[in-house]
């Protein structure tokens, strides 16, 4: 008997993603005013973060040896790095509710990768503003920093951005996956995302205990500060920015394993 092999290749998954993406977009666009207000809300959210920063620098000149433009550069890096998480993995925020409702079982019953299916069910279009504001801020601070420009610098930055965003995705994945094991999953996710508020501060402000905590356990250091060392402090020749690469991969794989472990274990709400 010939068994028709179902090729679950890249093309197949891309096709599925495209369909779900269009479906999601259509649903969002039908709520026209919600769409616009959410976009505005996202812009204001990011601008107020920058505004808070500027207010501090209205009164002070440096924080731990980093001036305004350097910290804006780090903030811009973070905004760009978080965009993939914001746009493609936004469904993590619905995970706790879908688990409690029992709706999540549907994902387990379909013959495609649960993680992929779940994440492709939601695309957050307003996340694109993080990218736009991030790039604008990056350009602005880069110009004001007087560090020159070279293609090598840009390439370094792009590589670091990719792996930094993997770490961000990993953190949110792990936090959301807690919903498979505990009841307060949504609260844990909210708590974890509150750490994003502190990514633009230099990690050097902390004492050694918290420095280690925020570098490796809840690695906000690798969301902006350490990667940017490659551009802002190249003379130090520090290994830290390049640790972003292996750590990004490791964290992502660990969080993926945790997420899918929880998903497989999920038995539904008993119906």
């Amino acid at each position: 008997m010939e068994i028709t092999k179902n090729k679950r290749g890249i093309r197949f998954y891309l096709h599925i993603y495209k369909m779900l993406f269009i479906q999601c977009l259509k649903t969002r666009m039908s709520y026209r005013s919600d769409f616009i207000i959410s976009m505005i809300g996202m812009v204001i959210m990011n601008l107020s973060g920058i505004a808070g920063f500027l207010l501090i620098f209205n009164n002070f000149n440096t924080i731990c040896g980093y001036n305004k433009n350097e910290l804006l550069f780090i903030f811009a890096f973070f905004l760009i790095a978080i965009t993939p998480n914001q746009c493609f993995f936004d469904n993590n925020w619905n995970l706790a509710f879908e688990i409690m409702d029992g709706r999540f079982i549907i994902y387990n019953l379909r013959p495609i990768n649960v993680f992929f299916y779940f994440m492709s069910n939601n695309f957050d279009l307003k996340g694109i503003w993080r990218f736009i504001i991030g790039v604008s801020l990056l350009v602005y601070s880069w110009i004001n920093l007087d560090i020159g420009f070279s293609v090598i610098m840009l390439l370094k930055l792009i590589v670091l951005l990719i792996f930094s965003s993997l770490s961000i995705i990993a953190l949110i994945n792990a936090a959301a996956a807690s919903g498979f094991f505990f009841i307060g999953g949504h609260q844990i996710l909210m708590f974890t995302s509150s750490f994003f508020d502190y990514t633009m501060y230099p990690i050097t402000i902390f004492n050694s205990f918290f420095k280690a905590l925020f570098s490796f356990i809840i690695p906000i250091g690798f969301f902006g500060f350490y990667p940017c060392q490659a551009i802002l402090r190249p003379e130090n020749n520090s290994i830290m920015p390049w640790l972003t690469i292996p750590l990004g991969v490791i964290y992502f794989i660990l969080s993926y394993k945790l997420w899918t472990f929880g998903a497989r274990r999920y038995g539904g709400t008993g119906s």
């Binding site: 959410s38 809300g41 204001i44 207010l55 307060g184 501060y201």
Partner: protein, 273 residues
């Protein structure tokens, strides 16, 4: 006449009880909320310690490191206490259509929501504000006075929650016209956290921003209770000033929110007719 008054008060307290029960059901949420505040305290402790360490002077804009730390922690604690998802819940009710049930009740919608919010704020006060206060009290080396200022602070806090409630309700009115929950709530939160002095004390604002903020209710919600708590040798005239400021804003915000509300309810459209 006396019997009618008693039943009204009783009704209010039963709503408050609902709010308390509703809040306590999510007990884990409150401990997570407290954890979030502790992280905030840790982060800004180190941040401002570094900021002041690099500053040429110890006192900037009239505030030392300790002053700034205390102000930020407590302003944030007030924000977390009063931020009981008023806008989000109302918007959610509008989206789901549940709001019609509440609008049909014999009690004014404001009282229903406020009663519930009071209950939630009470729980927040005990599980979130008090712990934060204790932490910052000891972290700052017990420099906060413990005396009659606490009484005035508490009164100020109660009035602040009324003003904050009305302010939130104004924003919630926009949910009638748009279908957005997250957008409106986020907009409100960003504006409030920035202009309330919870991100950076108002003393650090540039003058033009200080002027703008003085025309907004935020100083009455955040600054007034904090000044009553933290000021050294506050005279009764100072207490009187801040309390009057709060009463003034309470009246204005009540009026504005009621006006907006009445207008919005008339324009009510619900999903699915």
């Amino acid at each position: 006449m006396a019997v009618k008054k008693k039943s009204r008060l009783k009704r209010f307290f039963s709503l408050t009880k609902t709010g308390i029960i509703r809040a306590l059901n999510f007990r884990g949420a409150f401990f997570i909320g407290l954890a979030g505040q502790i992280v905030f305290i840790i982060a800004i402790f180190f941040l401002w310690r570094a900021i002041y360490a690099a500053s040429p002077t110890e006192v900037v804009n009239g505030m030392t490191f300790k002053d700034t730390l205390i102000y930020l922690v407590l302003a944030n604690a007030i924000f977390n206490m009063t931020n009981v998802y008023i806008v989000y819940n109302i918007c959610d009710d509008i989206q789901s259509g549940k709001i019609v049930l509440d609008l049909l009740k014999p009690v004014h919608y404001f009282l229903i929501r406020f009663g519930e919010s009071c209950g939630m704020m009470m729980v927040q006060f005990i599980f979130s504000f008090i712990p934060s206060f204790i932490i910052i009290y000891f972290l700052s080396g017990q420099v906060i006075n413990i005396g009659i200022n606490l009484v005035f602070f508490f009164i100020g806090l109660v009035m602040a929650s009324v003003i904050n409630f009305c302010f939130n309700l104004c924003f919630a009115c926009f949910c009638f016209y748009t279908e957005s929950c997250w957008g409106i709530d986020t907009l409100k939160n960003c504006i409030v956290t920035l202009l309330s002095g919870a991100v950076i004390p108002i003393a650090f604002f540039p003058d033009w921003l200080k002027t703008i903020v003085s025309f907004l209710p935020f100083p009455a919600i955040f600054n007034a209770p904090l000044q009553m708590l933290l000021g050294d040798n506050t005279s009764f005239s100072t207490y009187g000033y801040y309390l009057l400021l709060q009463v003034f804003w309470m009246i204005i915000m009540l009026a504005v929110s009621l006006l907006l509300w009445n207008k919005s309810v008339k324009a009510l459209t619900i999903n699915g007719g």
